[in-house]
Assembly symmetry: C2
Homo-oligomer: 349 residues x 2
Amino acid sequence: MIRTIASALVALALTLPLAAQEAPDALAPGEIVAAAAPRDWIRIAPEDLLVMTLAPAADGSAREVVIQLMPPPFSQGWIANIRTLARAGWYDGISVNRVQDNYVVQWGDPNHDNPETEGEAKALPEELRAIGARDYTASTLPMTGKFDDLLPRFLERFPDFAEKFPEVRDLSTAEFGSSIRKSLNPDPYAEANLLVEGWPFGYDLKGGKAWPVHCYGMVGVGRGMSPDTGSGAELYTVIGHAPRHLDRNIALVGRVVEGIEHLSSLPRGTGALGFYEDPAQRVPIRSIRVASDLPAAEQPRFEYLSTESESFARYAEARANRRDPFFIVPAGGADICNVPVPVRRVSTE
Amino acid sequence: MIRTIASALVALALTLPLAAQEAPDALAPGEIVAAAAPRDWIRIAPEDLLVMTLAPAADGSAREVVIQLMPPPFSQGWIANIRTLARAGWYDGISVNRVQDNYVVQWGDPNHDNPETEGEAKALPEELRAIGARDYTASTLPMTGKFDDLLPRFLERFPDFAEKFPEVRDLSTAEFGSSIRKSLNPDPYAEANLLVEGWPFGYDLKGGKAWPVHCYGMVGVGRGMSPDTGSGAELYTVIGHAPRHLDRNIALVGRVVEGIEHLSSLPRGTGALGFYEDPAQRVPIRSIRVASDLPAAEQPRFEYLSTESESFARYAEARANRRDPFFIVPAGGADICNVPVPVRRVSTE
């Protein structure tokens, strides 16, 4: 599913002198998103949306969380398990058991891998697959291959880049210039960090590996000490500064696209790792459904701003270089988790 | 206050092959902190602690937040104002008015700079100082000077480094090696990011500038469009992924060292920017006091783990390279906001 080089455009946007940079009335990132053309928005398949319904809040208001599952080639073993669990009704009646400040909210069977169990663990469907550490990275897509392959493809796809930075044509790939280096958005965690087809990825360029990264709101699979112990029955989402040390150590399977406030504002657990010490503190989960299994009229519809669109490139550039009136010093860059992919709910009509 | 080169030790720890790297029973970062010697902990002066008491929670439990103010040379104009406001009792009776998910919690006078005012703004003490954008960075300390000065001082201070990486002796400062480059922990926001005397700083090495960075829990001064409109009467703390684009655009004055969960778990505001639309949603602040103004027996006592200590270096290295049993792939680095400075409450006896 993932186009290879298109991803680079987005990263480039963090450094290229786009027209917006000179505009005296520079737009804020949100204004750029609001002005994006309809063609820049991509519908999320209902098969890739989970609707999680929590018990109502104390004031009786509904609490619904919508999660987008990641497309191939990432984490598909776990994602198949998650759809199986949802379709078996297995998640209905589990609960949010752990809320650790500046880290994660985690939900699952409170009698499985929980310090405060008080009964038998719920039996899992038999058809779940066991998936191991090999699936925490993908060696195929996106932007596969050795770094030596990158520059020529980069230039072929983006002739404008070579026009603006003619020096790159003379560089060997081993000594690629600081402009290209910066456009790959390196950080302490990865040589390159790029937004591709709606998702944030880290890259080991020499090894030709890619992996999804733990940004705020990303959803992953809880596991025990052994890498193959996570089935998808226990899930968590990030509610703090990106815990990138978890990248490649736990499977990411998606992200919250609506309703994260119902999780991030829950009281923090006072037990070890933020587990609730009193079972009464757990938040019941009424159900988790795959949106495509709901009656058509009840299926939520969401779109994301194509990370390959010109609008997204301008948005990402503006996130990295704020010029709207409040700002004095543009940062000159943005880490990948500070460029959240815009997602919007659209009418079902 | 800030020693210059000591800071580099901490950054180095992210890459140096410390003994811990080879240990089969590698300690988790928290275990390293727990084992730190008493001499590695530094007392926070009571003059630098603010105690903020919120109205009790719905269940009647107390809600207290403790904030550590930043030492010189950073933000002292605003910090002087904050002490003045606290000592005038000005903060007593204000409220938390804004809670924006993955961003900030903000408190102040709801009738000042708030979309939902319903009365006169509270008069400010006359002796407050106006402070402008020039104070968002410091050009003196820490680690002042041009980057050309850095390497020789670095080697003088850390002969071990040169022993381990002898190639650095031959490098001109203009072409310093990738090891040193990595040890400065560059990221998309700054050429260097170092923890110095307990605080996270970004550095413009060529310009000889330093500034505190917006990590989770840092506390800053709300302002209007003009950079000199923030007095210290309106404050915020970060409750999401580090919004580093705010660095050098707003004054940071400290960080929450205890009780941030009382702010981060508040219901999100549904108005623009997360402001509460209904005044009844605001959380009353009973008082904010400078700890040194409290009776001695009521003064909370806190210590932070010296960022210049060997224990901290080992902790930072372990944050960047997790080898405790859960982990499969050490990240190989950590962004500065993912190395929070350990702080602990100590007995008042």
